[in-house]
Symmetry: C2
Subunit: 388 residues, 2 copies
Amino acid sequence: MIFHDPPVLPRGFQCASRNCGLKPEAPDLSLFVSDVEAAAAAIFTRNHFPGAPILLGRETIRAGRLRAIVANSKCSNVATGQAGLDHARRMAGAAAAEIGTTADRVLVSSTGVIGVPLPIDKIERGLRGMSAELQDDPRSGALGIMTTDRVPKVLSSTAGLATLTWVAKGAGMIQPNMATMLAYIFTDARFEAATLDRMLRQAARSSFDMLSIDTDTSTSDTCALLANGRAGNVPEALFQEALDAGCTRLCEMLARDGEGATKLLRAIVRGAASDNDARQIARSIINSPLVKTMAYGADPNVGRILMAIGKCLDCTVRPEATDAWINQRQVVHNGIRSAFDEDALRRELRGDTVDIEVDLRLGNGQATAFGCDLTSGYIEENAAYYSS
Amino acid sequence: MIFHDPPVLPRGFQCASRNCGLKPEAPDLSLFVSDVEAAAAAIFTRNHFPGAPILLGRETIRAGRLRAIVANSKCSNVATGQAGLDHARRMAGAAAAEIGTTADRVLVSSTGVIGVPLPIDKIERGLRGMSAELQDDPRSGALGIMTTDRVPKVLSSTAGLATLTWVAKGAGMIQPNMATMLAYIFTDARFEAATLDRMLRQAARSSFDMLSIDTDTSTSDTCALLANGRAGNVPEALFQEALDAGCTRLCEMLARDGEGATKLLRAIVRGAASDNDARQIARSIINSPLVKTMAYGADPNVGRILMAIGKCLDCTVRPEATDAWINQRQVVHNGIRSAFDEDALRRELRGDTVDIEVDLRLGNGQATAFGCDLTSGYIEENAAYYSS
C-alpha cells in the first residue's frame, strides 16, 4: 500500500484547529467538516465508564450520517455526570451552528484528564468563526487533538478513484477495545453506513484491537469512518484492503509514539491452535513489562519471551515445539534458548523496530500485535499528568 | 496476628546459605533442613514453560514428604531442556548426600535468568560441608535466594503451640498463579500432607493469587509448606487463620519490595456482584500502569481508578453506583469525581501505603489485591537484568 507524502484529505473534506484556552498556547480544538452529509460508522470504547462524548456519540451515530467532527484535547469530559452530557450536547450544537447543520450531524470527542468539568464556554467561544479557517491539510486537524503525542498522526492513501485519510491521536492509556483513542477516517468513496460499519469492525480486528501501549483501556476511545461519496463507488474488497493497510500502519505510528517509547515492538505469532490463541499470546508478549524493558535496554534476555507466552494459561502451548526469532535471528528452538550471537542481537534490539516472531507449530492460528518499549519517559510523563 | 521480631524457625528446622560462585560475593545457595521427615505440600507456577526444578518438584511432592529444600539464585534453570532436568536431579542428590537422606525427599528451586545452563558443578561443590553451618536464624536461608530483592523476606508467628515461619524471595516477574516466586513455609505443627495441601491452596487464594508486581507470571513460582509435627496437633481452623494472616503479610512485604517500588498499593473492592468480579477489578487497579504511576508521582489523577475498574469488560459495573476512596478520603461518588482536598490527597499518596477502596454497591463480592507503584527504578533494573 502506498501512502501519500504529505498526506491529503479526500475531496469535500476540510479541517482546522485552534487554541481556545484549554492549553496555554498549543491547538486544543479541532473541527473536521464534509461539505455534504457523509455516510458514517463509528466504534467506541467498551470501558464501563464511557465519557459524555461517547454516550452522545452512540446516540448520534445511529442515523449513520455526519457532517462534522468536533474534538478538544486537555479535558476528556469523563466522570462528569449529567453536566458533562449537557456540555457535550452544547459542543455539538456550537459546531453545528458554525457550519450550518444540526447538532445530530456532529460527532463530539474530548480527550485529556478524567473527572474535571469541560470548560464549555471556552469551547463555544473558540468555535465561533472557525469555519473561515477550514483548509485542506489534514495535519491541521490532527494538531488540535494531541495530548501527550509527540507527533501528529495523519495518513492517506487511495482505493481506486477514492482517497482515504486517517487522523488520530493517542500515546497513553492505549489498549483499545474495538476502537482506538481517537481515530478519524475520511473518504470520498460512496458506501452505505451499514457497509462502513462492517468494514470498520473488520479493519479494527487486526489493527486497533491488537494495539497496546500500556494495557489501559481509555474511557474515550472513538474510531469513526466518514464517506461523503464524492469519488463514487469503489469495489468493497479494494476499499477494505486499503482500509486494513492504513489502520495497521496507523497502529504502528501510534505504538512508535507511545508515551516514553523509543521503538516499535511487533509480536508476530503463527502456528497457534487458533487465531484467538495467537491474538492472546501476541498481546501478552507486547504487554509484558519485562519484554518491553528488555527491548528498551537492548538486553538479550530472551527467556522472557517464553515467560510471556507461557503465562497465557488458557492457550494451548507445547514447550518442546516452540520456536522464536527476534528480527529474523532465532533465539528459541524447541522451547530451549538457542546459542545465538549476543552482540548481534544487542544491535538488533537497539534498532527502532523489534519484531518478535513465534511459531507454536500447533496449527494455523496467527496474529500480529503492536506495542512499544517501556522506559523512564513513560513513568515521568504519567507520574505528574494531572498536575502538569 | 502477632509476628515475632526477630523471626524464628519452628522446632526441628535449620537453614544455611553460602556463596558458591554464581554471584560475585553475595550468598547464592540456601539449604533448609528438617531433622525428621516433614509432611509437605507445594504449589507451582502454571506458566506453560515451567523450569526444570518445577518439573522435578511436581514429581517429588507427590509423596507428600520432605526432609529439605535446596535453592540457588542467579540462574533459574528454565528453557534448558533435558540437561536442565539432569542438573536439577543432581542438585537434589547433592543436597540429600550432604544431610543423609535420598534425593526424592529434597525439593529443588532455582531462580534468576531464564535460558542459561545451571552451573551444577559449582552448586555441588558449594553444598559440600554445608550441613555443618546449619543454624536457627531463618534470615540466613533467606539471603541465598535473593535476586533483585532489596531485603530478605522472613516472618514467623504461632498457632497454638506451633510456630509457623515464612521464607520468601521475589521482586519482579511477580503475578503468581496459585503460587509465588519462591515462598517456603515451615511449621512444627502436625498435619497430613493432604490437609497441608488444602490449607495452602486456601491461603494462596487470598494472598499469592492476589499479588502482582508487574503482571508477569514467573516460570519458577514455588510455594511449599513443610510440617514436621514437633509441636503436635493444632486445631485446623486456628492454623488456617495463622497461615492466611502470614501469607497475606508476606505478600505485602513482597509488593512493598517490588522492583523499583517506593510504596505498597492495596485495592480493596467490596459490593461487587461476585467475589470473582471483585478479584478481577482489584487486580486491574493494582496492575494499571496509570494508577501505579499516579501513586508514584502522588498525582491526584483519580479518574484513572474509574478507567481501571471500567476496563474489566466481563465484570458487572454500574457507573452511577460506584464509589471510591484513597486512604479513607472519598474521591469518587456515584461514578463522578468528588470535590476533595487535593493537597491532602497528595500527602496521602506520598505515604508508604496507598489503599484504594472501591464500593460497587451491587452485591457482596469482595477482594483485596496487593501491588506497588511503577517507577524508573523498575525500568532501570529490567533494562539490563541479563547483562548486569
